[in-house]
Amino acid sequence: MKLELRGITKRFGSLVANDDISLTVEPGEVHCLLGENGAGKSTLMNVLYGLSAADAGEIVVDDEPVAFSGPADAMAAGIGMVHQHFMLVPVFTVAENVMLGAEPTRGAGLLDVEATRARIREISEQYGFDVDPDAVVEHLPVGVQQRVEIIKALVRDARVLILDEPTAVLTPQETDELMGIMRQLTADGTSIVFITHKLREVRAIADRITVMRLGRVVGQAHPESTESELASLMVGRPVSLVVDAGTSDPAEVVLAVRGLTVVDDRDQLVVDDVSFDVRAGEILVVAGVQGNGQTELTEALLGLGGRVRGSVRLAGTELLGRSVREVLRAGVGFVPEDRRTDGLVGQFTVAENLVLDLYDRSPFARGPMLRHARIRSNAAERVGEFDIRAGSIDTLASTLSGGNQQKVVLARELSRPLKLLVATQPTRGLDVGSIEFVHRRIIAERDNRTPVLIVSTELDEASALADRILVMYRGSVVGIVPGDTERDVLGLMTAGYAPEQAFERAAAHPTRTGHPEYGGDGDEGEP
């Protein structure tokens, strides 16, 4: 099936999310839609999938203009979509999820579950999915849930499959398997629209690349292009993808974590006997797939976590059992995972946000009264130092872009003398330029002899920053390896393989995206 978008325009108030976008997806090709967060990729796909109506432009399927008033129409036209956040009902079985919206019935509206089971088994067999139709979705690993989403589309005879950031939740090995599935699907004539901001994956799998920036198509690219060519097209200026971390000089152990165990409010063991050290002047990155206990680990360090056992000593002082305020006062800087809900108060101004954890002390307070002049002069200073692009220091934090919000959080946390910096997902959702900035500041802090603990799910980020990498899997430490450990090995460790096994397996089965020589010149993604 050939799919064309002609002049699609979509506005949200004064913001033009999609500006006159045209692209063509040929039958059986993998068409990559590359762009940064906020470039308008997802908006475009929501228009294509009938979830929102375009203000102008048309969708053309096999040279016939079509109009979608809802996802049902799009599905009927042969378009399937795997959303970034899976659209699966957690308490339903695989079969119930797959049939939802297109249920086979045995008269009188009674569900024909057996027919769906048979279809799922058929498709599972064809593509080697290994999915049990009667498993409850919430008990399945994310990789399998994604396959359920793909089955959902295939059951409805999708000829064009949209994959929206499908690799965000996968380990490199799972990503590799997904690419294998994509190849099988295109071989059967299905077209795939692959939305991503990961350059490495684009080069490994794409037949054609369309690059978007700020709601516009800024160009086509070949899969042979280098990563920095793609990046500069995506960002609109030359960027350096990897910040030179320089050399580190780790000294004495400052943070010592021993036997840290956290039980969450659902009585699940989420952090299981974790022990590690961080030295002065060293960056330790905690890597792992989302949801393997990293968030709970940092929350426990800060004193936010539920039931915690073990010991966390910062320069000899025990931190566990203290309140968040005491931990911050002890010299811990914290960049939380979600800057909008935990890092900032959206309805406060930039100036106010910059003193959120300092407001009650000199020089920003005298007794119970705030000293606004000091708060404002502090803000002016930080805004300059961290290059925060805000209308003024009185601008509401919620109106800033993600990159600038993160700069506000960083500026606040780094503006007091630190004995430890903890940053969770410091660059998630940021544009390439902001990522570069954040990385530079983190490295500067390391060079300032501060021990730094970063939590990241991006292996590239881990490799770029880390002196040592700690990999977590299901709440426990899989291993701690040097910062220059190969990507494939790290990937296997995030799937639970111990370091020695991971080294062996990685040597035996290199992945498409793990090795620079793969996908480097042309279409070598073919299995």
């Binding site: 999938y49 979830l51 929102s52 809802g70 996802p71 049902a72 599905m75 979509m81 959303h83 956040h85 899976f86 659209m87 699966l88 009902v89 957690p90 308490v91 339903f92 119930e96 999820n97 049939m99 939802l100 919206g101 297109a102 249920e103 019935t105 009188a108 509206g109 009674l110 569900l111 959902k152 009585d267």
Partner: protein, 401 residues
């Protein structure tokens, strides 16, 4: 939780009971084909035995929880039954009560609870919290009574009842789904509105001119042949008014519809993950709107039981909080029709017990017995039955971006 109650039962009802007395339960009513002699048991021993059964159930439940397995519904029911029976043997020591009468009374009080719980379930399974069940019951009771009186036809009254519930539900749906007003607030306001309206009309019309406005009469009991002759069960379940038979039917229909039909699958999807339902091509808010309306009709129909089924006249505030207890029954029954039935029966039983024990003059002050059903409700909702998991999108309006 089970353990504490079980121990309490053992000490209170068993060990403290005066030894040597007998509790007598009349099982069959006079005139049955099969007459069974009243069952007399030694109070103390029976109470201890039943309390031990409670403890055993508690132990098993604890084991299941420790193994992170869910505690099945029948276990909770068994515990509740044993606990209540233990209590009963103690309370009626030295006296005689009619078991059939007690169960009949329980069912009578449960009927509106079951209709109300079904109404709540239909709404909440799609993610709309319906606090206005009370108002819908009351509206149903009122309109059915008035219509039946004016036209002198009970059947027309029965048809009018769901329309009254539907009207209240329509207001709830419009405000909470279309205008996104907080569901709880709309529900509370509707309750107050219906209460005020019916009180006003009662004071102006129904009370002064009761002959014209408030004399609907009651449906006769229809005994189902054969089934109705079974001892205990027969007179309790199968010698009832048409409204009760409709209740049986409603429970079965809702159960089958929710869990075995396309409609039910979509309803549950909308309540658990509306975005997923939307991307599967289901009109989320339309499903919600429709279900709130159906629920309102069910509750309104249940309201008719107060006037046309039980009392025969409408009286002020006659629902007396049944709508809220129905919500509790729905939660205790884990948003499942069968579960809600058991929970409602439990509440009905507790409520009925108060009047039964009041008559025979039990050792407990009647004020305490008045509290019993509500205390039971709090225990039930606060987690007697383990961790309760409502539909994930319950109470959240769905706004398409």
């Amino acid at each position: 939780m089970f353990t504490v109650l079980g121990l309490g039962a053992l000490v209170l009802f068993g060990l403290l009971a005066p030894g040597g007395e007998r509790s007598t339960f009349g099982i069959s009513t006079a005139g049955d084909i099969v007459e069974i002699d009243p069952l007399g048991v030694p109070s103390r021993q029976a109470a201890i035995l039943l309390a031990l059964l409670c403890l055993a159930v508690a132990g098993y439940a604890f084991l299941l929880t420790a193994r992170a397995e869910p505690v099945p519904l029948w276990l909770s029911v068994l515990f509740g039954t044993a606990f209540v029976l233990s209590f009963l043997t103690w309370a009626v020591a030295g006296e005689t009560i009619s078991l059939t009468g007690a169960l009949q009374g329980s069912l009578a009080l449960s009927v509106p609870l079951i209709f109300g719980a079904l109404c709540g379930m239909l709404g909440e399974r799609t993610g709309v919290i319906n606090i206005a069940i009370e108002g819908q019951l009351l509206a149903g009771a009122f309109l059915s009574g008035v219509v039946a009186s004016l036209l002198g036809n009970l059947w027309v009254g029965l048809i009018a009842a769901p329309l009254a519930g539907l009207l209240v539900a329509y207001l709830l749906a419009v405000f909470s789904i279309r205008y996104l007003v907080n569901q709880i607030i709309v529900g509370v306001v509707l309750n107050v509105l219906v209460l005020g309206l019916t009180n006003f009309l009662y004071g102006r019309l129904l009370s002064p001119q009761a002959g014209t406005w408030n004399s609907p009469g009651r449906f006769p009991r229809w005994k189902i042949p054969v089934l109705g002759d079974i001892p205990v069960i027969g007179p309790v379940l199968f010698d009832q008014t048409v409204i009760v038979y409709c209740m049986y039917l409603a429970v079965i229909v809702v159960h089958v519809a929710l869990f075995h039909t396309r409609w039910g699958l979509r309803v549950r999807a909308v309540g658990e993950h509306p975005e997923a339902a939307d991307t599967a091509g289901i009109a989320v808010n339309a499903v919600r709107f429709r279900n709130v309306l159906i629920g309102g009709a069910v509750a309104g129909f249940g309201g008719a039981y107060f006037t046309l089924g039980a009392i025969g006249v409408f009286s002020r505030e006659m629902t007396a909080g049944a709508g809220f207890i129905a919500l509790a029954a729905m939660i205790l029954g884990r948003w499942k029709p069968m579960g809600a039935v058991f929970a409602a029966l439990l509440f009905g039983f507790a409520n009925n017990l108060q009047s039964v024990l009041g008559i025979i003059g039990s050792p407990i002050p009647s004020e305490f017995m008045l509290m019993a059903p509500y205390v039971l409700t709090i225990f039930a909702v606060a987690g007697l039955v383990g961790r309760i998991r409502p539909p994930a999108a319950n109470g959240q309006p769905y706004i398409k971006s």
